[in-house]
């Protein structure tokens, strides 16, 4: 069953996916998603932070203040165990969605 809230779901998947690696601060998260999707997914401050805070509230992310290599204070996000647990089914759900859409497109083509 595919989640109804596709837009939010895709954004959550993107954030969880980039945070599967080392902790990142907000701007790094936005830039990394943009780079890894070749600019298809873009976050702005207004779209990123409400989502980060919501995911943090749900316990999927944990944030802590740290310093960048240049010595600037930034709030770094990392996945919690609950976030990692969420990532696997979310990935599966999205793969199912894309497979279903591909089948639809092929059927339409045939």
């Amino acid at each position: 069953m595919i989640s109804a809230n596709i837009k939010r779901g895709s954004a959550e998947l993107a954030i969880l996916s980039v945070l599967a690696g080392p902790p990142l601060h907000g701007y790094e998260i936005a830039r990394r998603i943009e780079r890894q999707t070749n600019g298809t997914l873009r976050f702005t401050l207004a779209s990123l932070y409400p989502l980060l805070y919501r995911m943090e509230s749900r316990g999927w992310l944990r944030a802590a203040w740290g310093e960048t290599p240049a010595g600037r204070a930034r709030r770094y996000y990392r996945l919690t165990a609950a976030g990692r647990k969420k990532l696997a089914p979310l990935r599966k759900e999205w793969k199912e969605l894309f497979r279903a859409l591909a089948r639809l497109a092929e059927a339409h083509h045939a």
Partner: protein, 232 residues
């Protein structure tokens, strides 16, 4: 370059954030805007164009403050703010203080007599445990720090900080009259000095030690923000 901390702080005006939370969120948004500007300039934009782009992101959504507030408060499955900012630090501090007092007693650092009230018949000692009093400011500081981190105001930070002393006081107010009642020892003339000396030994003096640790964490977010602004 604009003072992004001030711009973000202004942007959150009218939101329901407490001063502490607003300070925290402003710092984070300011960091994002600063990175955005730096990145834009490294890609060849001049300063005014980079600044304009950052301002456009900041002001893109007029309801940003309320959206951020709702997102931060959406935690039905997790600890609420009062639990995180008061009960948890207060109770942890209480447990730590009791455990430490017990450890000090076990290793032979027993509370010492520093004075007394009453006569030989009704003798009410005032006791203090010096090693215990020395660690209490750290427990008070830890409670106040976690309370502040959870966005609680000064009153709750102080209450969380001195929470062990408040519990000890409540226990004395209950236990002393109860023990006198059970043992059948004389009434009010003996109970009041016993409560007074007990409270002094286990609530007032430890409370003062705890409060000592709380003091550095009582500065308001607005004052810290002013300092940050002045330093920028």
């Amino acid at each position: 370059m604009p003072d992004w901390l001030r711009e973000a702080w202004r942007k959150l005006a009218g939101s329901k954030f407490s001063a502490e939370e607003r300070d925290d969120v402003s710092r984070e948004l300011a960091g994002y805007l600063d990175d955005l500007c730096t990145d834009a300039r490294s890609r060849g934009l001049d300063e005014s164009a980079a600044t304009e782009r950052a301002f456009a992101e900041l002001h893109h959504d007029a309801r940003l403050g309320s959206k951020l507030y709702r997102a931060r408060k959406e935690n039905p499955m997790h600890l609420n703010d009062r639990t995180k900012g008061f009960w948890l630090p207060g109770l942890l501090s209480l447990v730590a203080s009791v455990v430490l007092l017990a450890i000090f007693q076990i290793v032979g650092l027993r509370p010492r007599l520093v004075g007394h009230f009453g006569s030989v018949v009704n003798y009410f000692p005032v006791m203090i445990s010096l090693p215990w009093l020395c660690v209490l400011p750290f427990l008070g500081a830890a409670s106040a720090y976690f309370s502040r981190r959870a966005g609680r105001g000064r009153a709750l930070r102080v209450t969380a900080g001195v929470f062990p002393a408040l519990v000890f006081l409540a226990a004395i107010l209950v236990v002393v009259p109860l023990s006198f009642g059970i043992s059948g020892v004389p009434g009010i003339n003996a109970i009041l000095p016993a409560i007074a000396t007990g409270a002094l030994s286990w609530a007032v003096i430890p409370g003062a030690a705890l409060l000592l640790g709380v003091l550095p964490f009582l500065r308001s977010a607005a004052a810290r923000h002013r300092d940050l602004g002045a330093a920028a």
